[in-house]
Amino acid sequence: MPLRNTRHRWGVLSQLFHWLIVALVIVQVTLASLADDLPPGAKKLALLARHKSVGITILMLVILRLSWRSLNLTPLLPTTLKPYERLLARFTHAALYVLLFAMPLSGWTMSSARGFPVSWFGFFTLPDLVPKNKSLYAALLTTHEALAWVLAAVVALHVAAALKHHFMLRDDVLRRMLPFTTTRQGPRA
């Protein structure tokens, strides 16, 4: 399996970034909803600490992922796409990247505004992004939660598109992001 992307398929590293981030985003949603149901206490604190550490991990992965993307070819969109579909695809992908930055950054800033420094799994403490500020904290909490719903909506669109490509259009768009699959174009990976 090639490490790098080709014009027709995502390389191993791009696939790894994609699916690792998918898994971590699922972990994030799980931790956040478990914490949401708890009253203030040690268990809630532990869940939220984990949520922050995983969030910072996603932020680091997204930075690496975009750097790798910039050093690579990007697989082409199928030629069968209509112009508006092309635009929609580009918009959806851009929105996903923006949200993958905005989610951890709004969370980190929110924690700073609350006056709670963010630690990465206890290994190191991140600098506070803003000084303590109660109303900013409240605004960022709302923002962080709203962005989570926006992310859910964009992910739903992304998944629906991938499934449409695979099952209705029967092209390689989903397959080229899956490891251990054969695509019609390009080398076997």
């Binding site: 206490g41 040690a42 268990k43 604190l45 532990a46 600490a49 709670f116 630690s119 990465w120 206890g122």
Partner: protein
């Protein structure tokens, strides 16, 4: 018999000497806290990061003379309800029964009847009571006497640490130390006024 009377004479002499020494020793000054210019802070590990808090209300009584440590005493009472970490929700949690339990234990108390000189300053040796648990404790401090507006004052500061679970601060889920560390650093900078 002779031995006994010799011993008695020696004891009497010793007692007299001790009495004379006490009488000659400089009087200690009685100080109380100047709350506006004093702080008692603590720091703790929360979710892997250092966090800070303080107690807003405390009383300090210090009888002190660097020339007469034998007669020096320190007594500190902290109102546990005055805990302030800058976060209402966290402060309420700290006040709850599983942590400081401020309703049941409204005060923490340190009393030292023994003050020793150390290389860096002094060490107050006594008993610390937190959440109803009393343990031997010693608090190192430095003391600087000053005269301000004609009145004697003193600046007392120091730093120590204690383990919260030694005093039962952390019941139930809070016994775990992975999210809130057992070690709590304490630092104080107090201005004392002669009273």
């Amino acid at each position: 018999m002779i031995v006994n009377s010799c011993a008695a004479a020696l004891l009497a002499t010793a007692l007299l000497a001790a009495h004379a020494a006490a009488a000659d020793a400089p009087a200690v000054t009685h100080y109380v806290l100047d709350p506006a210019r004093s702080s008692l802070e603590f720091n703790f590990l929360q979710a892997g990061a250092q966090n800070k808090g303080r107690f807003r209300t405390l009383q300090v009584s210090l009888d002190f003379s660097s020339e007469n440590l034998a007669a020096s005493r320190l007594d500190v009472t902290i109102e546990t309800n005055s805990v302030d970490t800058g976060d209402q929700e966290r402060d309420d949690t700290l006040r709850s029964a599983d942590l400081l339990a401020v309703t049941k234990f409204p005060q923490a108390h340190f009393a030292a009847a023994k003050i020793e000189r150390t290389a860096a300053g002094y060490d107050a040796i006594g008993k610390l009571t937190v959440r109803g648990v009393t343990r031997d404790a010693h608090i190192p401090f430095t003391f600087k006497a000053a005269t301000e507006n004609g009145a004697p004052a003193g600046y007392m500061s120091g730093k120590t640490s204690l383990r919260r679970l030694d005093y039962g601060v952390g019941q139930g889920d809070w016994k775990a130390t992975d999210q809130v560390g057992n070690d709590v650093g304490v630092s104080f900078a107090l201005r004392l006024a002669a009273h």
